[in-house]
Symmetry: C2
Subunit: 488 residues, 2 copies
């Protein structure tokens, strides 16, 4: 199996596609740009979703569900929003098929044309703010802290499984507040939730930052983001949290009676992460032998493989170990297949990223021990059978931490402070990663850098210190460094 | 609040709509036939989904995700299937909007017309079996036990929140097997899961049965169902499990190498329940004061209301009780609102169906007791403070059981054995419910009964004993009774 993966050094892009395919995460579908998320990939998404959902609820949010379809006229109500999304919309125009009178199978029934076309939601601000108008009358109805887990569609021209697909799964939070300050606090609260999730659960270090006006969400006053660095030196925007000001409240006329008894437009935020995170997870940890999963998100954390194959005695021991691990809340599978050989199974479990593999042989049992293999470092060790459950529990934590440390070391090594244009171009080409450089604050310069190098400003880090400097491109004065990178 | 609900005796249909609205379960949306599921309604759906998901996984199923869109040509591949779904499809024809050159806002870009139209999935057999063709080669790849949680769209002309909406949420299981017998076993296994869920979790008694050919799923060889009875004497199909034979395998050319080393078409099942279950839940238990929720599915099981309003001392006691209840895994809320009066709050909690309400007053505390009100019977009792957690734990179980018993008594009283046509018409008009009667087995008679009375054959109960009789309509010979009813 492992041999079928293209090495990263040879073709990073193909390596990624190979991992998605061979680790059984997703398949292409007959529908352009849409993927099938296979059980192993969906199991991973379920773990991510459940943890995020827990964190949202812990911070006071509740879930709801809004329609898949958005009337076309709604999109137009917020000018920047329609500009941002109109060019990539799936449009429903009819509601019925009929038999072709000329015998050509089923065709669209021209008599079943909708009066107003419906857009398959690319994001739900418009339909949600149209609804909020009926839900919000006074400051007592605020804040409204609602999240939705849903599928959305953006008709992307170039797609890539998980990273950019026409349909994807995500969560979108949409909150309503009585003041700008409270809405900004919410935006930052969620940014923290995203960063904690990325670092503590995905073991993926991220930089929290602010997007430049040019890179803002269509309809936002400010967009915050978390940015991660992939193994090929390209950045990945992993999540965004938007302060929407009163833009959608004004577009949909959502006012409330404030404590001073005056009508005021409601303040808004929206925020989302998607199945794109799976792409980030793959490209943060995996290697040329397959997927590497952080233990906290692995659908199966430990696999027990009887060697050379299951027998009554081995199964008895395996069941005992599995029971002890389950009692500790560890997700474990016993491989009861007696068709394939251990070598084949080992390669397979490496491929799909199971963090810990226990090899259980007759001689091992006699000697009171068991072989423990960890996926992250490929190290193997013999461990006493009577301490195995504790050992595995600790090992899973160690792997989780090691993956984060490894990724963070790589990321930190790939933030380069640069002060001249020549160096900028050179570092970008030869080393990649984030370039920390001064920028004059204009969209013109940002666009020029992008045209010349394909690098974009990923963010202005929220903790960027004030520092006098000169723009790396124009030499004009700048007050702080921003992070440039090529990005997914 | 409660006064705003139309009594069932006056207008059952309006009562239902009032409950949906006033118990804050769902709202209408600006998109025809689509509803907004509000946080309280979605919280209920989450509980149902989580339990069903647990039961599916316990029986060996895994989740995956398939595209929202289905190429039009796929629908046509299974003749009965397209016949069943073509007339209610949302059709995507374009993938871009543009600014109207005549200044009329955004319009569909005629240059962005899809070569082949895409159907928003009304159900996913076609796209899934097209995918299975690549996943199944040999008997070793079988069985394939996959479920999907998704939104689907059927362009219904007359809609009603939860019961019949253009978009709804559901799960659809799609399994593949090496033999007809194994597929039938799977169909029945899931029918059991559905029945257990309905009875043990929703406290809604159901009858397991087989649909007549006329009422089968479009593309199935046999459709099994669970049928429940609503308070107005109408039946509700609450879930279906289909044995699809080799129909979809043949339509999408999915063959496998069997153990005898021969190519064979794969055997299939599909099965689903949807947000329709919420409609069934409402109409099984609720009353003229609002929603009644079975404790096991209530998002909040117990609410503690300080009387007349929160104070430091009351909050201290409330927190202690809440902690004790949470330690037992009970979902509890403390009402810390100090704006509204207890009477208003009580009506509100009755309206939204919280199973148990604890009223906590200063005098009660002094006397070492607390007032316990149960939603199902409206009974109140004073209970010693030091045994309250155990009391509530038992009470929740008692309410769950009482709701089921009450619904089952009603249902059982409304299954009437009928042997003449006059009696059939009379019972249907005056009493409603299920009519257990003989039927000659023909679609003609079934249709005739429907035309004359609006009653349909809900199912042939799986446990219907053989019994010689004469068709209630035609007098022709029959071997067993079937259940007729008017239905949602």
């Amino acid at each position: 199996m492992a041999k079928e993966i293209t090495p990263r050094s040879e073709d990073y892009s193909q390596w990624y596609l190979d991992i998605v395919q061979k680790a059984r995460l997703a398949d292409n579908s007959p529908v352009r740009g849409c993927m099938v998320i296979k059980p192993h990939g969906f199991g991973l998404w379920e773990k991510m979703r459940d943890q995020l959902d827990f964190m949202f609820k812990e911070t006071g949010h509740v879930n709801a569900y809004f329609p898949l379809f958005i009337p076309k006229s709604f999109l137009s109500k917020e000018a920047a929003h329609v500009e941002g999304f109109a060019k990539e919309c799936a449009v429903v125009t009819h509601y019925r098929l009929k038999n072709d009178p000329n015998g050509g199978g089923v065709v669209v029934d021209p008599e079943a044309k909708l009066e107003e076309e419906l857009i398959v939601r690319p994001t739900s601000e418009t339909i949600i703010w149209d609804t909020y108008r009926n839900w919000i009358q006074s400051y007592r109805d605020l804040p409204l802290l609602i999240n939705q887990w849903a599928n959305v569609v953006r008709w992307e021209m170039r797609t890539r499984p998980f990273l950019r697909t026409a349909e994807f799964l995500w969560q979108e939070g949409h909150t309503a507040h009585a003041s700008a300050a409270e809405a900004v606090d919410e935006t930052l609260l969620i940014l923290d939730v995203y960063a904690r999730f990325a670092e503590e659960w995905m073991a993926m270090p991220v930089i929290k930052g602010i997007k430049t006006p040019n890179e803002r969400f269509a309809g936002a006053d400010e967009t915050y983001c978390i940015e991660a660095l992939m193994q090929d030196g390209k950045a990945l925007q992993a999540g965004t949290s938007h302060f929407l000001g009163q833009n959608f409240a004004k577009a949909f006329d959502v006012q409330f009676l404030n404590k001073e008894n005056q009508q005021e437009y409601v303040w808004a935020t929206s925020w989302g992460v998607s199945t794109r995170l799976i792409g980030g997870l793959i490209m943060t940890h995996s290697d040329d032998d397959g997927l590497v999963l952080p233990p906290r998100l692995a659908p199966i954390q430990v696999v027990i493989v009887p060697i050379p194959k299951p027998s009554d005695e081995l199964t008895l021991v395996a069941n005992k170990i599995a029971a002890d691990l389950k009692a500790k809340g560890i997700r474990v599978k016993i491989d009861n297949d007696d068709q394939n050989r251990p070598g084949f199974k080992f390669a397979e479990y490496e491929m799909i990223g199971i963090p810990v593999r226990l090899g259980l042989g007759q001689r091992d049992i006699a000697a009171g021990q068991i072989e423990v293999a960890r996926r992250d470092t490929k190290e193997k060790a013999s461990v006493a059978l009577d301490t195995i459950a504790d050992h595995v529990e600790n090992l899973l934590e160690e792997i989780q931490q090691n993956l984060f440390n490894r990724a963070k070391a790589y990321r930190d090594e790939h933030i380069t402070r640069v002060d001249t244009w020549d160096e900028f171009v050179q570092i970008l080409e030869e080393k990649g990663g984030f370039i920390s450089a001064h920028w004059d604050g204009t969209t013109e310069t940002e666009e020029e850098v992008k045209t010349l190098t394909k690098a974009t400003i990923r963010c202005i880090p929220v903790d960027a210190p004030e520092e006098d400097g000169k723009c790396v491109r124009t030499g004009k004065p700048s007050k702080r460094r921003v992070l440039f990178a090529k990005a997914y």
